[in-house]
Subunit: 274 residues, 2 copies
């Protein structure tokens, strides 16, 4: 499937801008999963199956799998999403960034090995470090622009001659790197004014917005700043607030309730229903 | 071992500033390795054993392992280097960069799972994205500063108020992030004038310099621009020119000859022997 088209279809058909981030931390799993060799997969699959009709995308974060030798469980998880929930795109959150020959290997990892529909990429190394991802037709390339963490300002908010570095990134992507219409941008919910800046530069390009929930971003301000004219344009990510809504055996039900509440809270702020 | 101390000891004791990059591409392996399930490990081990006395570090590039489900072979390779060639630090070239909680997972991946002595990290997300690596005592954190690829200039050479972005990164690392004396910087050999700028800002901090060999960087200009007063300070990386010095069954011998020649070419340019 074409990532950007699939995301737009998911916004419309599922009436949801909510992206659920899959950051599995075994220390926070319910007791029944303790010691199971497939605990990471089992936990994430339960979350996925409980929330798939409420989301526009899933976003597994690869570090949580790689830190515990669970790459095989990440493969199985993405295969499960494709098989059981077709139409929900999978964003592999990997934030890769390297020279062209190595970037080609990372693109293989994301798109061929894991079968992700999109991958997050760091723009610091410039255009030729991004091109190997862009060359995968139909796959999404989501560039870090203004990230949600406090240190994001250290470099991203530096003035680079009448605009900030993150604005330059947004402009570069919008005017040069997105010629295949397969790019998107990461802009943190913790800085709504900056979401508005990026939206002004990016046209109707999708924005992936982390920072809702545990990181404290404001839903109404995020939607007001980032939505497109049709009340969409955003994949608003929540990870911990949904995954760990309950520490007990009812974690999947609790995740569903949290996802429902988050989707409704987002929809209540949208200018127009999709 | 402490990474920076180990690197300085290796410069001195092995009389070498050469770092061999391990970017295993099965398409370029000799025929005898074709189809072997452990081909990636076997190829890299042969290179390592043929060159270990000539190098100051090895730098496996994780993408080449991850693209083909060979994480177990990367673990085995690093364990082999530690066991058979103690004193040669291992730099995991991963160029990670993410918010604090996820960065903690990536640090686990690099230092606990793979037992690397140092890891390359992307500075775009700022200080709190780097701190989880810095918290690992004795481990090295090598920040991308001015990369060797053509697109490196897209962002890194932007003027951020009297200095370029890569200079700001070098200053931030030298004056703030390196309080534990465990940082280093990546500066490409393709831009010797910029190596000199970084050296002026970074004191005697180690510089990891890719771009020699296949990428066309100039050894004499690199050494002149980057060496410290004692004729060291640099880990000059070469990957493809050494790994693929021969396409035949003599690849390890050819790699040794190439590494010897590269080490001598570098040493001939140094102001002072270590």
């Amino acid at each position: 499937m074409d990532f950007v088209a699939a995301l737009r279809a998911a916004w419309r058909e599922r009436d949801s801008l909510l992206c659920v981030g899959l950051d599995p931390d075994p220390a926070r799993f319910p007791a029944s999963l303790a010691g199971r060799p497939d605990a990471v997969f089992a936990f994430c699959r339960a979350i996925v199956d409980a929330t798939a009709d409420l989301v526009c995308a899933f976003k597994p974060q690869i570090a949580y799998f790689a830190a515990r030798r669970a790459e095989d469980q990440l493969e199985a998880l993405i295969a499960h999403i494709h098989a059981r929930h077709p139409g929900v795109p999978v964003i592999l959150d990997a934030k890769r960034g390297d020279i062209g020959s190595t970037a080609g290997q990372y693109a293989e990892e994301a798109f061929a090995r894991y079968r992700a529909d999109a991958v997050t990429v760091n723009p610091y190394m410039g255009r030729d470090s991004v091109e190997p991802y862009l060359a995968w037709r139909g796959k999404g390339v989501i560039l870090l622009c203004r990230t949600s963490n406090p240190g994001g300002a250290d470099l991203q908010n530096l003035d680079v001659g009448g605009e900030k570095l993150y604005e330059r990134v947004a402009r570069l992507v919008a005017t040069e790197w997105n010629s295949g219409n397969n790019c998107a941008l990461v802009v943190g919910a913790t800085f709504p004014a900056e979401i508005a800046c990026v939206r002004a530069l990016a046209g109707d390009m999708p924005l992936l917005v982390p920072g809702i929930g545990a990181q404290g971003g404001d839903i109404a301000a995020t939607v007001a700043a980032g939505q497109t004219a049709d009340g969409a344009g955003l994949a608003i990510n929540s990870s911990r607030a949904i995954l760990y809504a309950s520490a007990g055996e009812d974690f999947a039900d609790a995740a569903r309730r949290a996802a429902l509440a988050m989707r409704e809270a987002i929809n209540a702020c949208r200018a127009v229903g999709c």
